[in-house]
Structures are given as structure tokens and as C-alpha cells.
């Protein structure tokens, strides 16, 4: 097991290195750099920019060096925890994304919790009561959730929440708290605002999860070992939780690797519609303006999370499923 983990960590480092190369060069691929975009923007506003100033800026930002050199500067910076400097915000990247990262993580972790908390009971009910009225009704709701565009749901919820509670629920906290240090009041305000985006972003995920859990569980429920358990005299609920549900969990654990990056990058459109201070919209704009250190840091961060997520899910699978832990011998 220790060897396995060591091996995995080693390959992870290699993967990340390759990803960093790809990320950097793909951001650089479109013609021009941040300065050309910036100058074009200034010129379209009727301003002229002196050539000396451009050259100065270019040197300042290191854009006059070769691409390979720039890459090495960036990567060594990353290793030292220096994420670089955002052109657009004129701030170190760390300061730009720090708060947003925290808020997006809070938002998206609660979304995942919401998805699990809602979809597991419903999925189990649907599977054990297949083709009952309850199953049909819940499936219908699920499909409705899958089919409704998130931003539409967001607007509707915002409207009704405003009507009912009389406050504006845009954003993730009351405007008074923005930019302030964390306090109990601020945290409460965040909690107050959190539920709408959680419900909005979580709906489609919940619906999908219900369908998958139901299908997985239905496959397992007719397996022979369930009958064996029943023949032992196990009560239905105990039987369900111990045997088929645990077998049905595997795909969801394998999914953790995909979930974690979603926690950070997901829900761009909803964030824009609800003006949530999360990382999604910022990643979008930084890519548009070729703000390469900001975008690069984001993408590297996502890559890290993906790789770590995969690692975590592999280890968890090994812990939960002896067939995986004991390797090829189980494949019989």
C-alpha cells in the first residue's frame, strides 16, 4: 500500500509538470499578449500610447523574453508559492483570488453536501420502490430539475425570495460586509445568502445523482448476495445499507476526482447572473484578456485539484473495496 501511494505521488508530480507546460503554452497560443489587448482597448477609447511606455511595460512584465524563459520564471515562482502578478488588477494573483477562492469553496462544498443529502434518500427510495407512484413522481421531479436551465431557476428564485423575505439575495453576503474582515455577522450573512445558489446549482446535480443512484442500486438489488442476506433473516433496511448500497457507492467515490475541480470552477453562468463573488467569472475574464498569470494560476490550481481528487478517490476505493485493494486476484 505504501509503495502504491509512493508510486502514485510520483506519477502525480509528473502529470502536473506536463499540465503546467500545456497550460502555459495554450494560454500563450493566441497571437499577442496582455499588452496588445490592453493597447487595443486604449486605442479604441481614443487614447494613444507612447511606444516607450509600451516597451517599458513589456520589460516590466517580462513579456520581452522568450516563451521558455517566461515559463521557467512562472514555474519556479509557483514552486515558491509566488503565483505571479495579475496585469488586469495590478495586484499579486494571490490577493486577487484569495477571498474568492474561499467563497467558491464554501459555496460549492455546500452544494455537494446538498446534492448528497437530498439525492441519497430519494435515490434509495426510488430504487426500492421501483415503478411505484412515489418513484414515478420523484423521477418526474428529477427530470424537471435536469431540464431546467440553472440561470432561469436562479432568476425565479431570486424574484420570489425577494418578494417573500424582502431583501435582495444577489451576491453571497450583504453589501456592507464586502471587503471587511471575517466576523460572526459576516458569516451569518453568508449563510443567509448561501441557500439560493446552493439550491440553484445543486438542482441539476441532484437530479442526475438520483437517476444514477437509482440505476446502480437497481442493478445490485437483484444480485444473488442480496437474496442470501434475506435468507439469513436480515431485516430489509439493514440488508439494504450493508450490502447493495455499499456496492452501489463505488461509482460515486470514483467521481470525487471530477467533483473537486467542479467545486472551484463550476457554475460560471449562475455566478454571473447572481453576481456571486466566486472564481468562475474571474477565470473567464482573465482568459479573455490574456491575463496569463491569473489564468495560469487558476488552471494550475484546477489541475492540482483534479489530480489530488483522483488520488483521493483511488485510495478511498481501495479502502472500501477489497477487490481493488487485493488487485488482480479479485478479477474473477
Amino acid at each position: 500500500m505504501i509503495y502504491y501511494i509512493g508510486n502514485r505521488l510520483f506519477t502525480m508530480a509528473g502529470t502536473l509538470l506536463v499540465i503546467s507546460v500545456l497550460v502555459f503554452f495554450i494560454i500563450q497560443l493566441p497571437p499577442g499578449d496582455y499588452l496588445t489587448t490592453y493597447i487595443a482597448e486604449l486605442q479604441s477609447q481614443g487614447e494613444t500610447v507612447a511606444q516607450e511606455k509600451i516597451d517599458f511595460l513589456r520589460q516590466q512584465y517580462g513579456l520581452d523574453r522568450s516563451m521558455v524563459e517566461q515559463y521557467f520564471i512562472w514555474v519556479t515562482g509557483l514552486l515558491h508559492g509566488d503565483l505571479g502578478y495579475s496585469f488586469e488588477y495590478n495586484l499579486p494573483v494571490k490577493d486577487v483570488i484569495g477571498d474568492r477562492l474561499l467563497l467558491s469553496m464554501i459555496l460549492n462544498f455546500s452544494t455537494i453536501l446538498f446534492i448528497y443529502a437530498v439525492s441519497f434518500p430519494i435515490g434509495i427510495y426510488s430504487a426500492t420502490h421501483q415503478y411505484s407512484w412515489g418513484d414515478h413522481g420523484l423521477s418526474f421531479l428529477g427530470f424537471l430539475g435536469l431540464a431546467t436551465p440553472n440561470f432561469l431557476l436562479a432568476l425565479i428564485l431570486l424574484y420570489f425570495a425577494n418578494l417573500t423575505f424582502g431583501t435582495s439575495f444577489g451576491g453571497l453576503m450583504d453589501p456592507d460586509f464586502i471587503g471587511q474582515d471575517w466576523s460572526v455577522d459576516k458569516a451569518l450573512s453568508v449563510l443567509e445568502h448561501l441557500w439560493i445558489p446552493v439550491v440553484v446549482i445543486g438542482t441539476s446535480g441532484t437530479a442526475g445523482m438520483i437517476r444514477r443512484l437509482r440505476a446502480n442500486l437497481l442493478d445490485e438489488l437483484h444480485k444473488q448476495y442480496v437474496t442470501t442476506g434475506r435468507a439469513k433473516g436480515l431485516p430489509e433496511m439493514q440488508l439494504l445499507l450493508k450490502y447493495p448500497l455499499r456496492m452501489a457507492l463505488n461509482p460515486f467515490i470514483a467521481d470525487i476526482g471530477n467533483l473537486i475541480p467542479q467545486v472551484v470552477s463550476g457554475s460560471v453562468i449562475v455566478s454571473v447572473v447572481m453576481s456571486l463573488p466566486t472564481t468562475g467569472p474571474m477565470l473567464l475574464s482573465s482568459l479573455q484578456s490574456q491575463d496569463m498569470y491569473l489564468a495560469g494560476s487558476f488552471l494550475m490550481f484546477l489541475a492540482c485539484l483534479t489530480v489530488v481528487g483522483m488520488f483521493v478517490s483511488d485510495i478511498l476505493l481501495g479502502v472500501l473495496d477489497p477487490r481493488i485493494r487485493h488487485g488482480a486476484r479479485g478479477q474473477k
Binding site: 448476495y225 439469513k232 433473516g233 431485516p235 430489509e236 456496492m247 488482480a328 474473477k332
Partner: protein
């Protein structure tokens, strides 16, 4: 009520989308305390449904519509003692939960899927104990746990685990099929039930293991004084374990009575048909199996197909069609998934220096337990995998060609000559292709004929295997297992092959269907002059169809002899134990259980001189094949002393 269980006029219905299916229609039988009752029937006869009804684990679509299941609930510590009607008892009630697993327990056919792969054996056995035999008084939890573990380990020892303490913490997939079934039995018996229901407990196991499991069930029955209800389609098993027999057909009892009466004086035509449909050892050569439902094979229009057979009846008739020389194949198991590991991989020898030859127009039966290398051998002949050493010489009329030397393109014309029939007719047909497409596909691949001639060939093939040509546009799902296997045979014959490799072609089929397919294969062989390599673990089936039998064990060819010689005078210890483990459907010829367990002859290390790798004087040398006359070869260092005829009772 002095019976343990009485089933009276039981009727069970299934409510499906297609309408109501009556699976059990008024069945009655009884089980005495400590007695053994066998329910015999084909698949679909409703025998498993009866067991499920008794256990209260019927599928949700099923309903008991009439009848009673009276159970004499006498176990200690039950909430309700006395006679209970299980048919009317709520299956989710506490009382039924206590009976299920506590008083009546059940083992199933497939020991792999019957156990949860995610929990250890000890956990799953201990769970039954916890549910039914836990004593809530006084003891703290650790003491309780330790005691449960002790009882479980004792139980594992009782059912024959070599080291029960370690077995407690193993997972089912780490065990062999036989041990898994032993674990199932331990789980069923750990609470000392008064009735054990065994639903096809040995069908998925090898014969030697089957005999061991049957012995185990018998021993446990004596030790624990419980009754056994055994459900099976194998009349040989019935003859060896049962006191009373109930024969069911389509949800009705056809005949029931004491074991001897049933076998010596079968009354009902169905039972007689069933007895005639099963091949058994020591059948006369010219006796033909009588399938319960005969199929008509039409071989009249075979002129277009049998052209090559007439060509083959030239001077090379006596030359072997297929000769395998010194074939060796090892598989390596990659143990750890380390990136830079230099340690050599562990290897398993699937074939160890195997040689054999098949004469044109004859049938060679290849017998052995699962994992002995039979299928690997056939795959190498098909060039589906490559051997490490050795030759496969194929003679299609002129000069022998070594198939091992050919590349894929050179192999292609020869592929018409060798065709394959697989074990599982369900997974060997593409569900998205019609039967016409399936059967004509080989012709299309090899570019034989135009559309019209292909149509004609397909129609002839359908007639040949006894299927209606109206069915050609259907898809495989609308056919039964036996019909599918006939389609597979038709597909294999489409290219007019010389050699047909049949890998367990009947082991997935029901007894009555088995007879159909075996007869079909026999007829085709005599009509078309085909040569068969027939692989099976069922000695009786091989005895019925083969001329020569090759016995394999652990990758080694241990004995090769004509059918009669092999069964009347088996020489190798492995062959002996294999033959003695086959249950015969005759109560007068019971298995000798005591002899079975004494010898572990499937392990090459246990073979004594002259069969061992030790050449007598301490040198390690592999024994060769010794000719003992009459085409009888055995793997030994010298001609073994003629022992008394072990197989005489079978012959």
C-alpha cells in the same frame, strides 16, 4: 404433526407485464425431521420458486395464491413455537425473520455471487450468528464478539477449511469455488437450523468438488440432525443423497415417492423420459439418448455442404487431422503494480508439454477440472493465443501445416477449416444481429458465394440443425438456450469446416436440451464426417460422444485412452478419482464418499511413483507418456502395475 414441513396444494403466481404466469400449481410434499427430500425438474419447472416460497423470499411480483406451508417451529428461544403456516405469515414479520436463517436456511447454486465480495467470510457468517443466536444477557460486547468469532471459526473448521482462523478474514474472491460453497454452508448451518434448503448446490462445481460438497452436506446432516431439501436437475446427485424424491414439471408434481421406488420403477412418462435423457457412464455404444422433446434434423439437402468430406476420403484418411506436439504455455501474473519493479513476474503453467492427435472423422474428448488448461489448449489451436513452445500440425488433406508458424493472413484460409462452438449460447451471439446475419456472416467475411447462394446455404443450415427457416429474421433474444446453441452450431458449420472445437457446448444447458444438442452433434458428425475436439468437465457427456478421451490435470496430459479402456481400466490416480466422483443416477451405485476425501489427487505433488515428477531414484524428471497397449497412454515413468478395476462398477 410429525413432519417438519408440509407443503399443501401450494400455488404461486407471477404478475408480469406479459400477464399472469402460474409458476407453481398445487404442489404438495412433506419433509420429515432429519430426512432428505429432493425436488427434481428441468429449469422453469418451478422448483426454485417453491424454495423461495418456503423461505419467504419470493420476488415482489410473485404471490402465493393458494395452499399452506406448515412448519413445525420447535427451535429454542423462538417467539412462536408450534406449527406455523408460512404461506400466510407476513414475510417481514419478526417471527418470519427469526425462522429465516435461524430455523430454515438456504444455500444457492453460484457460490461466487451468493456471497458479498466486499465483506469477509467471517463477517458474513458471524452476521447470521449475531442475528439469531446472540445472547443479550450480561456479556459485554468484546466478549460477545470474541465468542462469535470462536463459534464461526469452529464452524469453518467443521465444514473443512484447512486453516479456519485465517479463513475468517479472507474475502470470497480469494477462495476457490469449493471453499466458497463450504463458506456458504457454514453460514447456513452456524445457527443449527432444523431445515436446510440447497438450491442446485453443486451445479457450478467440478465433479470431484461436487462429491466433496455432497459428502459435507450429508455429514453435517448427521451431525446436526437437520432435514435437507435439495433442489437439482441432476439425477445422479439425487440418487446419492435423497431419501424421498419429488419430480416436478411445469409447476406440478409428476411423481413422488421413496428413492428406490422412483429409480427402479418410474411410473410417469415424464420421469422415464428424464431418466433416458441423461447420459451416464457405462452406456452401451449404440444407445441413443432420448431427448424429452425430439428435434428433427434434416440431412437430406446436404450435398452442397458435404463436398469436402468426399474429397477427404482419400488415402490420407488414416493420418491424424490435428496433431499437437509438446505444447507449452505459461501465463505470468503481474503481482504488484510498481513502476520500476525489476522482480520477475510470477508464472502459472497452463499447458505443460501436452501432445495429442485427433484422427479424421473421430471425436476426441478433453476432460479435466476447471483451470486445468482445456480451454487454453483449444484457444491455441484456434490461434486465439500463442503458445510458448510446441507445434500444432493441421492436416487438411495434403501435408501437415504447423499453425504456429503462420501469420494472421496465412491463417485466414485455414480458419474456414476450424470452427468453434462456445459454452455460453447467450453471450456468443450478437444480440443486435438477426439469425440470418449471424449464420451468413462467416460466408460474408470469407467472401464465399453471392447473396442468393448464401441464402440457400443458410436455409440448408437451419434445416440441418432443426430450426424453422421462418425464424431467420428474428434476433437471438427470442430463442431459448438450446435453440441458440443450435444457431451457434449452424454458424460454425456455415464454412463447411473439417474440425469443430466444442468448448463445453452443453454445460450451460438443461438436461433435456443437453440430449438434443448431443444427438445433433453426433448426427452431424456421422453425416458430414466432421472431426471434433470436444471439451467438457462432464465425464458422462464425453463418454457418450467421444471415441478417445484425454484427461488433463493442472496443465498436464495425464491419460489418453479409448472410451472403454479409460472407464474400465483407469490407470492414473487423477483419472481414478475423477471417475469415482461422478454420481450415477442409480441408488444401487452410490458414491464411495470415504474414498473421495482421502485422496487429493488433483494436486500433481500428491501423485505417487510412477506418476510423480520424482523418477524413483531421487532425480527430478518429468514422466513421459507410457503406452500400455490398445491406444491407452498414461503419464508415468514406467508401466504402472495393473490395479484392480476401480471403474468396474461403472463399466
Amino acid at each position: 404433526m410429525k413432519d417438519l414441513l408440509q407443503v399443501q396444494d401450494l400455488a404461486v403466481e407471477f404478475h408480469t407485464l406479459g400477464g399472469v404466469i402460474k409458476a407453481v400449481k398445487g404442489v404438495s410434499f412433506r419433509i420429515k425431521p432429519g430426512g432428505t427430500v429432493a425436488i427434481v425438474g428441468e429449469s422453469g419447472s418451478g422448483k426454485s420458486v417453491m424454495a423461495q416460497a418456503i423461505m419467504g423470499i419470493l420476488p415482489r411480483t410473485a404471490r402465493i395464491t393458494a395452499g399452506k406451508i406448515l412448519f413445525n417451529n420447535a427451535g429454542p428461544g423462538n417467539s412462536q413455537e408450534g406449527i406455523l403456516d408460512l404461506a400466510s405469515l407476513n414475510t417481514h414479520s419478526k417471527c418470519f425473520s427469526e425462522i429465516r436463517g435461524g430455523q430454515i436456511s438456504m444455500i444457492f447454486q453460484e457460490p461466487m455471487t451468493s456471497l458479498s465480495p466486499l465483506h469477509t467470510i467471517g463477517d458474513q457468517i458471524g452476521e447470521t450468528l449475531k442475528l439469531h443466536c446472540a445472547k443479550p444477557d450480561g456479556q459485554n460486547r468484546t466478549a460477545q464478539k470474541a465468542m462469535n468469532r470462536q463459534i464461526t471459526v469452529d464452524m469453518l473448521r467443521l465444514v473443512g477449511f484447512p486453516n479456519p482462523d485465517e479463513a475468517f478474514d479472507t474475502y470470497p474472491f480469494e477462495l476457490s469455488g469449493g471453499l466458497r460453497q463450504r463458506a456458504m454452508i457454514a453460514m447456513a448451518l452456524v445457527c443449527g437450523p432444523s431445515l436446510l434448503i440447497a438450491d442446485e448446490p453443486t451445479t457450478a462445481l467440478d465433479v470431484t468438488v461436487q462429491a466433496q460438497i455432497l459428502k459435507l452436506i450429508k455429514d453435517m446432516q448427521v451431525k446436526l440432525g437437520m432435514a435437507v431439501l435439495i433442489i437439482t436437475h441432476d439425477l445422479g446427485v439425487v440418487a446419492n443423497v435423497a431419501d424421498e424424491v419429488v419430480v416436478v414439471y411445469r409447476g406440478r408434481v409428476m411423481e413422488s415417492g421413496m428413492l428406490d421406488d422412483i429409480f427402479n420403477d418410474p411410473q410417469h412418462p415424464y420421469l422415464r423420459a428424464l431418466l433416458n435423457a441423461v447420459p451416464h457412464l457405462g452406456m452401451e455404444d449404440d444407445v441413443r439418448l432420448k431427448p424429452i422433446r425430439e428435434i428433427n434434423v434434416n440431412t437430406e439437402n446436404l450435398l452442397s455442404l458435404s463436398t469436402s468430406t468426399s474429397a477427404a476420403s482419400g488415402p490420407e484418411q488414416s493420418a491424424p487431422m490435428l496433431e499437437i506436439k509438446n505444447l507449452t504455455k505459461t501465463f505470468s501474473i503481474r503481482k504488484s503494480r510498481q513502476l520500476f519493479s525489476k522482480q520477475p513476474a510470477e508464472t502459472v503453467t497452463a499447458l505443460d508439454d501436452v501432445s495429442l492427435s485427433i484422427k479424421r472423422g473421430s471425436c476426441l474428448g478433453l476432460v479435466g477440472e476447471s483451470g486445468c488448461g482445456k480451454t487454453t489448449l483449444s484457444k491455441i489451436v484456434m490461434r486465439a493465443c500463442d503458445a510458448d513452445q510446441g507445434q500444432v500440425l493441421f492436416n487438411d488433406g495434403n501435408i501437415p501445416i504447423n499453425l504456429m508458424d503462420l501469420d494472421a493472413r496465412q491463417m485466414e484460409p485455414l480458419r474456414c477449416k476450424i470452427q468453434y462452438v462456445f459454452q455460453d449460447p447467450f453471450s456468443s451471439l450478437n444480440p443486435r444481429m438477426t439469425i440470418f446475419d449471424t449464420i451468413s456472416e462467416p460466408l460474408v467475411i470469407h467472401g464465399i458465394g453471392d447473396h442468393d447462394s448464401r441464402c440457400r446455404t443458410v436455409l440448408e443450415l437451419m434445416e440441418l440443425v432443426g430450426l424453422d427457416s421462418q425464424l431467420l429474421s428474428r434476433y437471438p433474444h427470442s430463442f431459448s438456450g438450446g435453440q441458440r446453441q443450435r444457431i451457434v452450431i449452424a454458424r460454425a458449420l456455415a464454412l463447411n469446416p473439417d474440425l469443430l472445437i466444442c468448448d463445453e457446448p452443453v454445460s450451460a444447458l438443461d438436461v433435456s436440451i443437453q440430449a438434443q444438442i448431443l444427438n445433433l452433434l453426433k448426427d452431424l458428425q456421422s453425416e458430414l464426417g466432421l472431426t471434433y475436439l470436444f471439451i467438457s468437465h462432464n465425464l458422462a457427456v464425453v463418454d457418450y460422444i467421444a471415441d478417445t478421451i484425454a484427461v488433463m490435470c493442472a496443465g498436464r496430459m495425464v491419460e489418453l485412452a479409448p472410451c472403454h479402456a479409460l472407464f474400465s481400466n483407469p490407470l492414473h490416480p487423477y483419472t481414478k478419482s475423477l471417475i469415482s466422483a461422478v454420481p450415477v443416477p442409480d441408488p444401487g451405485r452410490m458414491l464411495d464418499f470415504s474414498a473421495l476425501v482421502a485422496g487429493k489427487n488433483s494436486d500433481p505433488a500428491a501423485w505417487a511413483y510412477p506418476f510423480s515428477d520424482d523418477a524413483g531414484n531421487g532425480t527430478i524428471r518429468k514422466p513421459g507418456m507410457v503406452d500400455v497397449g490398445g491406444g491407452h497412454y498414461v503419464r508415468a515413468h514406467e508401466q504402472p502395475a495393473q490395479t484392480e478395476k476401480v471403474g468396474s462398477s461403472h463399466g
